[in-house]
């Protein structure tokens, strides 16, 4: 369920960016990635299409998403691009509106999980000793606690979770993967000269972490955010699909839930299942491609070497 990200074996690149805020660092890094990587550009464009669709949903969707106005289970036609549901709703309109919640869960769940991951990973690496030991063990424990069963258990006790329950469940189960990746890189940065000199200047720990350490880990943090956002989207869709979300919410996951509930595949409206799933898949692909680009920037050795084809195999 969790997308594999190869960042764990990354060799930390160290280009000290002194006194630069983390935001500027991220933006600069994003710029480099886009200028040099076609996969990342493809991912970003795809993501942009979804964001535009979500923002302008009222203009793009021809009908209100919940209105049960039409003949049920119609095939695609000019009036209904993707046909209608068994309840007589327009599938295309639902699809456009539903993108809002799915994107929000990806954004908020991904951000929250990343913040927690960075917090734990950096604290662990920077302070070392018993703090490090305790936090590392906690991270490992959360990493192996099976995520889906834990999510199901929590959502079940909550009797069908709304948006915030889903976000909470995603953060609880999703932060540890990033924390595990942050720690070794922060550890190796900690003993570099520019951090040692900052300590010698008598800077406070928080200053050093915020202004010296984090700006030098932007590509890893970006990769972790993308991975966490992807995890959030897939996990929320999975939970909603098996009926543990709030079925009255409108998202791609709940669309799939209702489609399965009405046996859409068997009753001749396969588009009801295919369309929302394809959207999740495309959104996931967009994020994964972006992530792949980030990974290649952070670790140039991984780039496909197309031009060197004539050479003897191997390095």
């Amino acid at each position: 369920m969790y997308p594999y990200v190869a960042a764990e074996e990354q060799v930390p690149e160290v280009r000290p960016e002194h006194h630069q805020s983390a935001v500027v660092g991220v933006l600069a890094r994003v710029g480099t990635i886009l200028a040099t990587n076609r996969k990342a550009v493809a991912g970003l464009l795809l993501l942009l299409v979804f964001v535009v669709g979500a923002v302008f949903a009222p203009i793009i969707a021809p009908y209100p998403p919940d209105a049960t106005l039409f003949v049920p289970t119609m095939g695609p036609s000019r009036a209904h691009l993707l046909g209608t549901t068994a309840f007589g709703q327009d599938i295309f309109s639902q699809l456009v509106w539903a993108s809002r919640q799915t994107l929000m869960i990806g954004l908020i769940g991904g951000l929250a999980a990343t913040v927690l991951a960075v917090l734990v990973g950096v604290t662990s690496a920077y302070f070392g000793g018993l703090t490090d030991h305790t936090l590392s063990v906690v991270t490992d424990v959360f990493l192996v606690l099976p995520a889906l069963p834990l999510m199901i258990v929590i959502a079940a006790y909550e009797q069908g979770g709304g948006f915030w329950v889903l976000v909470a469940v995603i953060v609880i189960t999703g932060w540890s993967y990033g924390a595990r990746q942050i720690r070794p890189q922060a550890q190796s940065l900690r003993n570099r000269d520019f951090l040692t000199s900052a300590r010698a200047r008598g800077e406070s720990s928080w200053y050093i972490i915020l202004y010296e350490l984090l700006p030098n880990m932007t590509s890893l943090i970006l990769a972790i955010f993308l991975g966490a956002a992807l995890y959030a989207v897939l996990a929320a869709a999975g939970l909603q699909f098996i009926g543990l979300g709030n079925p009255n919410d409108l998202s791609w996951g709940t669309m799939l839930y209702w489609a399965e509930n009405q046996e859409a595949l068997l009753t001749g409206s396969p588009l009801w299942v295919i369309a929302p799933g394809a959207c999740i898949a495309l959104l996931g692909a967009a994020v994964a491609l972006l992530n792949y680009g980030v990974d290649e920037i952070g670790n140039p050795a991984l780039r496909a070497t197309r031009r060197k084809r004539g050479r003897r195999a191997g390095p």
Partner: protein, 327 residues
């Protein structure tokens, strides 16, 4: 020795965390879900069963939370998981045992196939940098690993079962068949497992390919590989015995660490295919508010994951002499 102690600490803590989550979650949640469940089953169960549930979930008791906790731990130590409500009056342990073999078989077979295939492809991709496998497969599988497992399963059902009629829709064996060890039943079981297995392999193989490729690229630039080349060893031997063998190590550790996520995908796939394993039973337990069964399944999945990690640890120590000597 320190490594072993650290691992032991990790195993004990994980187990303890799972047990304590089981104990604490129903007591912590707002609106007391256990009481809601009891109200639901009022009059349907006999008084002794109701009382057992009250004790298990800490309702109408004058015991302090600590006394309840000690008693809970004591029950678990004796493998007393309580009685399943939806399969009343069967004990939870027995109900779980019905589902376990299905999941273990499916998980075992798919993991082996996907590991072997993924590792080989990843190895070849790194060996032939810039070749077809290297430039095409990684991005393809990055995208595939981002697909929702359950949706991929639904699409497989749509194409292979409903459109082409090649394979059954779901479940573990033909409807009405009784479970027995005959050839015809085993064949049924295999035919029913093909689609779920295919889905799981398709979604999990990408991780193996990618990590193996990336590790292999690192080991290929090591001095010992150059040395092997200089000695004029056969390329296959360098690829497998020199570079591959060393590249596989982090792959196994990485696998152990992402196992929690792999299991999640497996359970979700079972639910889509109504496969009679642990995942499907989990969902049924949730839908029927069978909390004792749900708790036992959560605990069992955790133990299974820990067991797999232990196996990975042992394999790692066996493959890597450095780990053995440090102990």
């Amino acid at each position: 020795m320190r490594t072993i102690l650290r691992r032991a600490e990790f195993f004990v803590l994980t187990l303890w965390a799972a047990i304590t989550l089981n104990f604490a979650l129903p007591r912590m949640m707002p609106g007391n879900p256990a009481e809601a469940m009891m109200a639901h089953y009022q009059g349907k169960l006999n008084p002794t069963a109701m009382h057992a549930l009250e004790v298990a979930f800490g309702i109408k008791t004058n015991q302090s939370i600590w006394q309840q906790y000690i008693q809970y731990l004591g029950d678990l130590a004796q493998f007393k998981f309580g009685i399943s409500i939806s399969h009343f009056p069967t004990p939870v342990g027995e109900v779980v045992m019905q589902a376990l073999p299905w999941t273990l078989a499916l998980a075992g077979v798919t993991t082996v196939i996907s590991f072997a295939l993924g590792t080989i492809v990843g190895m070849i991709a790194a060996w032939r940098r810039g070749g077809v496998a290297d430039s095409l497969l990684p991005p393809v599988f990055v995208v595939v690993s981002a697909l929702p497992y359950f949706w991929l399963g639904l699409m497989c059902i749509f194409f292979f079962s409903l459109t082409l009629h090649w394979l059954p829709l779901g479940f573990g064996y033909d409807e009405g068949a009784s479970i027995q060890l005959t050839w015809s039943f085993v064949r049924q079981a295999i035919v029913h497992a093909i689609l779920p297995a295919f889905t799981i392999i398709l979604t999990s193989i990408g991780g193996w390919i990618l990590t193996m490729r990336n590790n292999m690229i690192v080991t290929l630039s090591e001095d010992y590989v150059r040395m092997a080349r200089a000695k004029g060893l056969h390329p296959l031997r360098i690829m497998i015995q020199y570079a591959g063998r060393n590249a596989i190590l982090p792959n196994i550790t990485g696998f152990a660490m992402s196992l929690g996520f792999i299991v999640s995908g497996l359970l979700l796939t079972e639910i889509v295919f109504t496969y009679p394993g642990v995942g499907y039973m989990f969902l049924q337990a949730v839908n029927e508010e069978d909390y004792p069964l749900m708790q036992a399944l959560f605990l069992m999945v955790t133990v299974a994951v820990l067991g797999a990690i232990l196996v990975a640890d042992i394999v790692n120590a066996w493959l890597d002499p450095r780990i053995r000597s440090s102990q």
